[in-house]
Symmetry: C2
Subunit: 396 residues, 2 copies
């Protein structure tokens, strides 16, 4: 099938989502199946608005520089299309003879792509519809890991490495609140900061394990006794025994849909206050890493950037090859000693419906730390951290 192509980005930005965009555009430029290459602004919203740009017209140098730029260069959106929306979409696509559609994003975006693919079939619009994976949460099914995670994990690991050194210098307890509403992968990446056995983060709490404030206070007390200081990495999404997010009990901020804003600083500050009061520790500090962990400039993991580029290329190749009407590219890790991945086409429905969590094998029995298996899993994705060192006489 020869036709025009449309590509768009959706959901939360990442440091490498533009690598996927440019990977797809470059592959499309060298395909004989694709004529025009349009970019829709702000995801599917750009289709309704017919806000398109001509990606063939962009100079090669600009494409390569956009690739290494964080955030979504075409803009983003959070919107799920209805069957009626799809009718409108196909009208617009038909008018421009768009036969290839690529949507870069997380599982919500895969669902959008799936709805469009199914409606295209139902409404008889001939097109090929692919999802290209992206999420710093690392929670897409069928994937060993997802583009965006390695770079956000790198930010977290670099931040916590430095923060642990800071805590060594001034002492006390430091609590770092890291993104992750349902999956603890990003928070777990903080553990990659460690080099020596007494390095922080000393405690790691994720949404996959029930969080108890009493147990937390006890854990910190044990750590203070052992190391004289304590660095804690905690997911914004940690939940109590009742299944409710701990942050919700502290937060007063809600968004337009009534969702409590978990990225507010309330969780960290309230956990800090609990430690200050119950353990009578003078210096207790909390930081909430916030949005910069997904869009910081110049910190992307090389492996993550390369793979993000490649999933974009692979999506265009799979789509134009003619074997699939729809699908998503999934990253599988090769079963070998040296790190390596391969890309396979999965059905959209397999990725769209649910999300995955940290496997049990990656969490300690006590539920307050990650295992060596997790570190082995995450290290090649995040990459080697910059060299830091302590005086030999101060290492235990």
């Amino acid at each position: 099938m020869v036709g025009n192509m449309l590509i768009a980005q959706s959901g939360g930005p990442s440091m490498v989502i533009n690598q996927s965009l440019i990977g797809a555009v470059l592959a499309a430029k060298s395909s004989d199946k694709i004529v025009e290459i349009y970019g829709a602004l702000h995801g599917i919203q750009g289709i309704f608005d017919e806000a398109f740009i001509d990606l063939r017209a962009e100079p090669e140098e600009v494409l390569l520089n956009v690739a290494q730029t964080p955030s979504s260069a075409l803009g983003s959106v959070r919107r799920k299309p209805t069957a009626d929306d799809c009718r409108k979409i196909f009208e617009i696509l038909a008018r421009r003879n768009i036969r290839y559609f690529f949507y870069i994003g997380g599982n919500d975006s895969a669902e959008t792509a799936n709805i469009i693919a199914e409606e295209a079939e139902r409404q008889g619009y001939e097109m090929c519809c692919f999802h290209i994976p992206k999420t710093i949460d690392n929670d897409l099914l069928c994937n060993d890991h997802t583009p965006g995670y390695g770079s956000a994990g790198r930010f977290v690991a670099c931040a916590v490495r430095g923060d642990d050194l800071d805590n060594r210098a001034l002492g006390g307890v430091k609590i770092d609140v890291i993104m992750g509403r349902n999956a603890g992968f990003l928070t777990a990446a903080a553990a990659l900061a460690r080099q020596d056995p007494d390095d922080g983060p000393h405690l790691v709490y994720v949404p996959e394990r029930t969080f108890s404030v009493d147990k937390f206070v006890e854990d910190v007390a044990v750590c203070m006794h052992k190391h004289g200081r304590c660095v804690v990495a905690v997911s914004e999404g940690i939940r109590g025994a009742d299944g409710r997010a701990i942050a919700e009990s502290f937060s007063t901020e809600t968004d337009a849909h009534g969702n409590v804003q978990l990225t507010s600083g309330a969780l960290g500050e309230n956990l800090a206050a609990v430690i200050r009061e119950r353990l009578n520790i003078k210096r207790v500090r909390a930081d909430t890493f916030g949005f910069i962990q997904r869009c910081f400039v110049g910190i992307a993991s090389e492996t993550d950037a390369r793979e993000a580029r490649e999933v974009g290329e692979m999506a265009v190749k799979a789509a134009t090859e003619g074997r699939y009407r729809s699908g998503t590219i999934a990253i599988k890790r090769k079963e070998q000693d040296e790190y390596g991945v391969e890309y396979v086409v999965e059905a959209l429905a397999n990725v769209a419906k649910h999300t995955r969590e940290l496997p049990d094998a990656y969490l300690t029995a006590e539920g307050n730390n990650v295992t060596e298996a997790f570190l082995k899993y995450a290290r090649p994705i995040v990459g080697e951290l910059p060299v830091t060192a302590r005086f030999t006489q101060l290492r235990n």
Copy 2:
């Protein structure tokens, strides 16, 4: 004077304070005036505790790796010595024949060095006492800028560049709260994120200008009208017309001395709430950069790192040369087109007493932004940011 040397670090860590430490140690190793080189742990506290390490015993490779490691490798402290403390200090120094003392830190550390130098004179202990400058706040008198500022500024600029791209993708208002209790230099560095005229940060608020919530709301409204989005950089230390920190009116956290903790997230979240309510904007977010802006791994400004190393070397050279009993190394910018600095010895008292603020010429008349003069001043210190780009068709 031939004798042993003691060096220590004090106050808040920075990304390059270990460059100064290692610069001094390497210069001392090649000086014929200095025999033993001790490092005191946790500033002057390490003297009282006689917690010393032998810095000559550290392998050269370790020294070089420590140099590029953020935070204070010898540990830090916030403590001001009394005359009695000094007596104790001189007893300990005399016992080890320590005749050279170097203290790396901000103006509080310069004051400590000054107290020790004056008491040494008064109590008749023959020694040479130097301060080595460090502060991410950039607020030391007599200095064009201070080691630590360029790297923290680089973190802020990279974070805000990415955050501005993030805000372009999803829209709304984003508020970034940046360190700086009294001086706005670090917050002002956020403006280095800009490339295009419509890039954020669109508004910059610093402690040097009175902050009015009403004016802030108006400024954001004007920006939303102009750009359809708004990124704000604001110092944690912004003050109202009554001179009180705005953060204090929101914050409930106080430290052991009753100081309100300005790094808590309350300021940003409350400013966000004000915008959400008064301007009825759906998507308003706030991040507080917190401690990671001073200790992040792998982001140091090359210029800052080099100068930090050099002030350490210069302090040892000035001390061992015999012309000065005490002093601090100040960075002066050469009056020339190309960026360059020179180092001069200043009296401790000139740096110890007060701090400096952003000059008027660096702030716009309206008080909600920085001038081109500031950007020209700060750019070479922070260094070029990583390349990022937008599609040509999306640039105005």
